[in-house]
Symmetry: C2
Subunit: 280 residues, 2 copies
């Protein structure tokens, strides 16, 4: 595996790096961010994968969330991939919610998407393999994300039992089969077969999940402009209740969907993951 | 005074706002950021003015520095103006280091700049007046900045004795009369008279300053790409030693000129200001 470091900035005593590599899973060049806390100079650290939302690249989280401070405190490596395959050759759509910047963390089954859009394979397979080969990491992994990336965190956790020992999300899409963003993306990537859709819907997945039951933390802003149409956390909350799955869903008054919200709560999320990932 | 709120985002229990107004001092429309900490809902708070560096608008600091967390903790209002007058009618230059985005926090004396480029009047007069009329503030003010904005913080502190009770800077331009950025900007804005330049040079100003001696905190990254040619903190350090002015200059190994550096140290700066501004 050949990765090239394209930037390195000292941050909170560690390093915020960006790497580029030719992805086999996606068939294109990809960037990903890696924050190495000071503790990484002394020994192996667990890894928290951050999955970003619609329109983001690897840059949004690393420049706006202020997560490095907390990762430095807890000794956690942060890995932040891009949100889709990229490039002039890669299929795209005019909308912000389909195609480049909107990979939805699944493997597409239909043309023209199937050739490149394999973000599930990328994140859980190729990228994890690179991180574990190239950096000094423990065998502990967590996954967290925002909006579409919150959907990614929850669904990858449920679909790959045991791969991630901790999971959380901020303003996630929790029920894509029931909201417009999911209808558009799943229709394009997966086709008309709704049974295929259900396999990428956290609210469906939690009801049949039989893996390790790591408690889920979700934060949701009550002034989020997408709350009632696209996010609908109450659907996941009810499913977790029915499935007796441990969920802490916090509703934060006045907060919107922006990175100001993410920055305000990311410290709690990193602490949530560290409590599991950093224990001896 | 007529100010319009153009955005409001909940952040760390307070509000990150952006306002727009027609500036009398500058003759154009201007944006500025205001962070209101939770304490601002209960009573008056002191104000810390943040002055940004070359190429920045009011957005860079409010999205990238992560300062809101610390301002919320200490109960300090943060005010972040743009770095120059703006607009199609406003004189400009092709370089990133002159004209729009590069006001240098002074009043220009020469055509075509003098008509609009009056950032010293704007920050110390009009903007402060707006903040004090429109928000519930105490009579305590601090000033802080990065790079060109660090130059602004130091020079406005020295040129307006007593206006700011606390001062600090990150990777500031400290001796503009001795470095290329200053030569270019001061030559354009002030003309050939070097005695006029000296009045906007912190290293010159500290030697004759007779106002209240608030201790200065400066952080400087040792891997800063502008360190030896444009910043040269040792010149200011020597002048402070000669003038017996209290300065703490910290050199941080490995840090560059970016907002990753600012984010890593802004907490210490807000604590420095709060120690003076928040005392009873």
């Amino acid at each position: 595996m050949n990765i090239e470091r394209v930037s390195r900035n000292r941050s909170f005593g560690g390093f915020q790096d960006v790497y580029r590599h030719a992805s086999q899973a996606l068939g294109c060049g990809m960037n990903f961010g890696v924050y190495l806390p000071p503790a990484a100079e002394r020994g192996a650290c667990p890894v928290l994968y951050w999955l970003s939302g619609l329109t983001c690249t690897e840059q949004n989280f690393i420049t706006k969330a202020g997560a490095q401070r907390y990762a430095a405190e807890h000794g956690v490596i942060l890995v932040a991939p891009d949100t889709s395959p990229r490039g002039d050759d890669v299929a795209d759509d005019e909308g912000y919610d389909l195609g480049q910047g909107a990979g939805f963390y699944l493997n597409a089954a239909r043309k023209p998407w199937a050739k490149y859009y394999r973000m599930e394979d990328y994140v859980t397979g190729e990228l994890a393999g690179i991180i574990e080969a190239e950096f000094n990491v423990t065998d502990k992994r967590g996954v967290c994300g925002h909006s579409m990336g919150g959907h990614g965190a929850l669904t990858l956790f449920f679909r790959h039992p045991g791969m991630y020992q901790s999971v959380s999300a901020l303003s996630p899409i929790v029920a894509p089969t029931q909201v417009p963003w999911g209808h558009k993306a799943f229709g394009a990537y997966l086709g008309d077969d709704r049974s295929a859709w259900a396999k990428h819907d956290a609210t469906e997945l939690v009801m049949t999940y039989e893996g390790p039951r790591s408690p889920i933390l979700i934060d949701q802003g009550e002034a989020d402009q997408f709350l009632t149409e696209q996010l609908r956390p109450e659907l996941f909350e009810e499913a977790c209740r029915d499935a007796d799955y441990p969920l802490t869903l916090r509703r934060a008054g006045g907060y919107d969907h922006s990175y100001y919200f993410v920055a305000s709560f990311i410290g709690d999320h990193i602490a949530h993951h560290a409590a599991t990932l950093c224990e001896d």
